[in-house]
Symmetry: C2
Subunit: 381 residues, 2 copies
C-alpha cells in the first residue's frame, strides 16, 4: 500500500485595535492598517456592509466613511454601502448573506480586497460568513459595535448563519485580518445590550482570572453608570482572555478542544425555551448563576464565594433566574444538557468552578442537584 | 492606542492512501483509518454521498458499502446513501449542495463524524463544500474516482461550487481528513476522462520535475493502452508534486503565493469560449502547448524541447489546438489574459518554461507573440 503524507500549518495573525471615532478624518488607524497590509502591487478594493441598527443610531456614519476614503486614498471604496438589518433576523434569512455575496461579486472584491463589516455579533457572523465563502475567503475587517462583539464574538475566529431552524448550522472558521473596537459605537446601545455582553466577562473571569473578577466586582457601579473608560478596560481584558484561549488551544476546533462555554449549556437551552426573547448575555448570566450554585452544592466552592458571584451578576442588573428553567420539573432544562452532550459528539464536558478564577471540567451532572440549584435560584426571582 | 495581537498556526495533516477495491470486505484500509481517527470516546457516524456517474458504472457499490460497515463495526453508517449527479451540473445548481447539507443535518453528522464523498473532481468540490460549511466543517473523507481528482483536485485543499455564473465563486479551503485513491474506479472512465487528467501530470512535470516528464514520455504507450500500473505511478508522482507544492507554499493562499497553474490562463478562457464542452484537462493540454510554444518563441526553451513536449501531448491523444484560440484575431484569448490578471488582484504572474522541468514566473506576455504561438499551433490542428 502506497501512502502520501500531507502535513502543513497555516499561520494566522491579526490585531484587535482599540480606538475611538474610527472614521474621523484625523484618525489614521484604519488608514495605516490598509496601507501596510499585503503587497503594494495589488489593487485594493473595500466594500462596507453595515448593521441597520448601527446606521440608524449613527446617521452620519456612511457619509463619514465616504469622506474618510476621499481624504485618504488607501483603497477603492465600493460605490455601494450596504445597510442590512442587524440582530438575529439577519442570520435567519439566507437572503441577507446572499445579498452580501452579490455585492462582493458586483464590486469585484477579490482575495486581495476587503469586506469591512460594522455591526453587532449577529451581523458580523452573517457578513463574515458571506466574506468567507466568496472566492474561498476575501479579507474581512471586523468593526464590532456591541459589547458582546467587542469582547468576545468579534475578536474570535467564527462566523455563521442559522439554517434548517438550527443556530449557526452553516458557518466556517475564518479569522478577520483586523478588528477595530471603536468605543464610540457603544454609546448608542440600549441598556440591555450594554449590560448583556458583560456576562461574557464574568464567565471568563470566573474560570480563568480571579484578579479580573475582583476588578469586575469593584466596577459594578461604573458599568451601571455607563462609564466609558471602565467599559473599555472590561472589553480589553475580556477580549484578551478569549484570544489567548483561542491561540493557546485548538483555534479551529479540529480535535476535542472546546470553546469557552462556562454557563453556556443552560444558556443555549434558555434561549430556545424563551424563543430568543432574552439576549444571549442575559441567558449566559443565568447559566453562570446556575452552574455556580451547582458548583457550591457539590462542594466545589464555598457559599461565600457563590454569594459573591451572584451579587456581581445581580448588581449589574441581570436576572439570576428565569421561570423556563423550572418548567416541566426541570425536564426541559435537562434535555438541554443531553442536547449539549449530543452537540459535543456524545462525550459530555461541562466547565464548573473549583474556585473563584478557576474552572474545572466534569463529565457528568447530577439531575437532582440541578433541580436543587434551580430551586435555590428561584428564590432570587 | 491599545492593541491586542493574535497569532496562531492551525496544523493540518492527512494521508492519501493508494488502494484497490476499497470496499472489499478483506480490505482494511478504510476500517483502520476510521478506527484510529480521533478520540475513542466520541461516537462516529458516517454519511456516504456518491457521484451518479460512478454509481451507475459500479452498480454494486452501495451494497458493498453497506456490507463493509456491517462486517466492520467502526462507525454508524447513515441509513441513506445519497446519489447525486456528477460533473459540472452538480456545481451549477445549488440544490445539490443543499441536498448534502440536508442529509448531514438529518443523519446528525457532527464535527466528530464523517462525510465520505465518492466521485469525480466536480462532485468532490460540491460535496466538500457542503461538508465544510456544515457545523463549521464536518470531517471529510475524499474518494476520488477520476484521474484528475486522484492526481490533482482530490488531494488538494479546495472545494467550491459555481454561483452567479462564475466558476468556483463559492468555496472554502478545507483539507480532507483522508483521501483514498482506489484505482479500480478508473476502469470505468471514458477514454476522454482517463486521458484528460494526465494533462495535470504533464503540467507539473514540466515546471518541476524533468525525470517525471521523461517518465511520461516513456509511458505514452502504456497510458494509451490503459495500463493500470502505469496510471497508478503517474497519479502517485503527480499527486506527490501537487501536495509538496501546497505544503511548501501558502496552502490557503492567504498571501500572494499561487497555485500550480502553468498552462491554465488560456485553459480557463478556452473552457468558457467552448461553453465547457471540452474537458478541463483537454483545455489544459492546449494551454500547456500554447505556453510552451510561447516560451520557445521568446527564446526561453529550444525548438527541440518544445517539439518533445508537443509530441508527448499529441502522443497521449490530446488536441494541441482549438479554433476558439484564434477567434476574433486572438482578441478573445487576450481578454482571458486580462481576466486572469484581474483574478490575481491586478498583478499578473504567469508561469512559463525556462527548461524542461523548470518553470519561470513572468509578469507580462506579449500579444503579437501570443498570436504567433496560436498560428504555429494551428498547423497542428
Ligand atoms: N462568532 C462567535 O464566536 C459568536 C460568539 C458569541 C455570540 N455570537 C453571536 O452574536 C450574536 C449576538 O450578538 P450581539 O450581542 O452583539 O447582538 P446583536 O448583533 O444581535 O445586536 C443586537 C441589536 O443591537 C443593534 N446594534 C448593534 N450595535 C449597535 C449600536 N452600536 N448602537 C445601537 N444599536 C446597535 C443591532 O442592530 C441589533 O438590533 C448572536 O447571533 C450570537 O450567536 C457569535
Ligand atoms: N478543488 C480543486 O482544487 C480542483 C482542481 C482542479 C479541478 N477541479 C474541478 O474538478 C472538476 C473536474 O473534475 P473531473 O475531471 O474529475 O471530472 P468530473 O468530476 O466533471 O467528472 C466527469 C464525468 O465522469 C463521471 N465519473 C466520475 N468518476 C467516474 C468513474 N470512475 N467511472 C465512470 N464515470 C465517472 C462523472 O459522473 C462525470 O459525469 C471541475 O469542476 C474542476 O473545477 C477542482
Ligand atoms: Zn457566549
Ligand atoms: Zn487544472
Amino acid at each position: 500500500m502506497q501512502v502520501l503524507q500531507q502535513q502543513f500549518q497555516v499561520p494566522f495573525s491579526y490585531q484587535v485595535i482599540f480606538t475611538k471615532h474610527l472614521f474621523d478624518s484625523s484618525n489614521k488607524t484604519l488608514c495605516d492598517f490598509i496601507s501596510n497590509f499585503g503587497q503594494s502591487n495589488f489593487r485594493k478594493r473595500i466594500l462596507f456592509v453595515i448593521d441597520k441598527g448601527v446606521a440608524d443610531a449613527h446617521p452620519s456614519l456612511t457619509t463619514s466613511i465616504i469622506d474618510y476614503f476621499e481624504s485618504n486614498a488607501i483603497a477603492d471604496l465600493a460605490p455601494e454601502i450596504l445597510v442590512l438589518p442587524g440582530g438575529e433576523v439577519c442570520k435567519n434569512d439566507p437572503r441577507f448573506y446572499e445579498e452580501v455575496v452579490r455585492a462582493i461579486d458586483e464590486h469585484r472584491i477579490d482575495r486581495h480586497s476587503f469586506v469591512a463589516a460594522i455591526g453587532g455579533g449577529a451581523f458580523l457572523d452573517m457578513s463574515g460568513y458571506a466574506a468567507a465563502i466568496s472566492h474561498r475567503g476575501v479579507k474581512l475587517i471586523r468593526i464590532p459595535t456591541t459589547v458582546l462583539s467587542q469582547n468576545d464574538s468579534g475578536v474570535g475566529v467564527k462566523n455563521g448563519v442559522n439554517y434548517l431552524g438550527k443556530k449557526n448550522f452553516l458557518g466556517t472558521f475564518a479569522p478577520a485580518v483586523a478588528v477595530f473596537n471603536d468605543v464610540a459605537f457603544l454609546a448608542t446601545l440600549e441598556d440591555r445590550d450594554w449590560r448583556s455582553g458583560i456576562a461574557e466577562a464574568i464567565k471568563v473571569a470566573l474560570i480563568k482570572d480571579l484578579a479580573f473578577f475582583e476588578w469586575l466586582e469593584a466596577n459594578v457601579e461604573a458599568m451601571n453608570s455607563r462609564d466609558e473608560a471602565a467599559m473599555v478596560e472590561q472589553i480589553y481584558r475580556c477580549a484578551d482572555l478569549h484570544m489567548k484561549h483561542i491561540s493557546g488551544g485548538d483555534p479551529f476546533e479540529l480535535g476535542s478542544a472546546r470553546p469557552l462555554d462556562f454557563g453556556h449549556w443552560a444558556a443555549h437551552k434558555l434561549e430556545y425555551l424563551t424563543d430568543f426573547k432574552i439576549r444571549h448575555g442575559e441567558a449566559v448570566a443565568i447559566g453562570i448563576a446556575l452552574d455556580c450554585v451547582y458548583s457550591h452544592l457539590i462542594g466545589a466552592i464555598s457559599l461565600a464565594d457563590c454569594e459573591r458571584i451572584l451579587a456581581v451578576i445581580k448588581g449589574l442588573g441581570f436576572d439570576l433566574y428565569h421561570p423556563a428553567l423550572a418548567e416541566n420539573d426541570c425536564q426541559n432544562l435537562h434535555k438541554g444538557l443531553q442536547e449539549f452532550q449530543e452537540h459535543l459528539g456524545g462525550h459530555l464536558t461541562i466547565t464548573l468552578l473549583k474556585a473563584l478564577g478557576k474552572g474545572e471540567e466534569v463529565h457528568e451532572m447530577d439531575f437532582p442537584t440541578i433541580q436543587a440549584s434551580v430551586a435555590l435560584l428561584a428564590k432570587h426571582a
